[in-house]
């Protein structure tokens, strides 16, 4: 990779990161290029599609979340572990408004650049769920995919501006349906 290319790549990543946090995942590619003082062609050279850019932005965070699940798998009570992790995932998606839709399409489309990252997240949640189920603290008739759906639904709700207040209560309602002991 040429030196100027590497510089632009890094610069674009950091600008895009900021734009993602400030304007949401539906920020226009042109906007990102503009804010980075770069032609739109340069942006597309480095990130051939919007999903590729999102993947570059989210991959490490997703890995962090998956890692957190592994930590929690060792330490805390099984039900509390699941709860804490759910809250963290939802807080993350809340901080990155608009990433839910690309995530939902990616999770079922192996060709998507985001696919792998999403599957890792789903798998991490599934392992926490299994442990809680083995422990008898989570209802047994749920699988990882369904848990992922429930997380996504809660995350989607929290994305709706006016519903932020109710989000915490609804989280408890749904979590109460997943876990046996409230």
């Amino acid at each position: 990779m040429r030196a100027d290319a590497k510089k632009n790549y890094d610069h674009l990543l950091s600008i895009a990161q900021k734009a993602l946090l400030e304007q949401g995942a539906d920020v226009s590619m042109r906007d990102i290029a503009r804010q980075a003082d770069v032609g739109v062609g340069t942006l597309y050279r480095h990130f051939p599609t919007r999903e590729a850019l999102l993947d570059a932005l989210l991959r490490s965070s997703f890995d962090d979340l998956a890692g957190k699940a592994n930590e929690l798998n060792g330490a805390a009570e099984t039900d509390k572990a699941l709860l804490v992790w759910l809250e963290e995932v939802i807080a993350f998606t809340h901080a990155h408004r608009g990433i839910l839709e690309p995530m939902m399409s990616a999770i079922e489309d192996p060709a998507s650049a985001l696919h792998e990252s999403c599957v890792r997240l789903k798998t991490a949640g599934a392992s926490l769920l299994r442990r809680a189920q083995a422990d008898g603290t989570a209802r047994p008739d749920l699988d990882g995919a369904e848990l992922f759906d429930l997380i996504a639904a809660l995350a989607w709700l929290r994305e709706q501006p006016a519903h932020a207040q109710r989000a915490a209560r609804l989280f408890n309602v749904v979590a109460g349906a997943v876990l046996k002991a409230p």
Copy 2:
């Protein structure tokens, strides 16, 4: 209203109805105009905004759903009544892919053309919920707005193509959290 205008209005409504069912609520305004063999200006003359068009398309159905809630308020067991109505609302939104997002913005924006219709829906659900709560069949710590959110979240899940299979199970999980006796 001039005769030709009335004719175009009715024609546009029926074409838009078909387009809404076949292509979803994000069908382009140009597409609707094209399918109706009408200039895009004509479409906008009759429906000054996309939400106005949606309102014209959905209002009567929403009224039907609200009416259904009133019927159910009279007849069936309170928990079953709520359940049946929830399923009907979700089935309706499922048949009209894409209406959820405009509904969610409309419910909190009194200026929206869709606002009134959405509030009617929310109110209808709230009355069913209250009756079930008074009867002791629904958990008491929920209000109409929260129920509406839960319905929306479930409806959103059912809109995700690959998740249709899990939708029924997840409906039961969430419904089980709202109702006391499964």
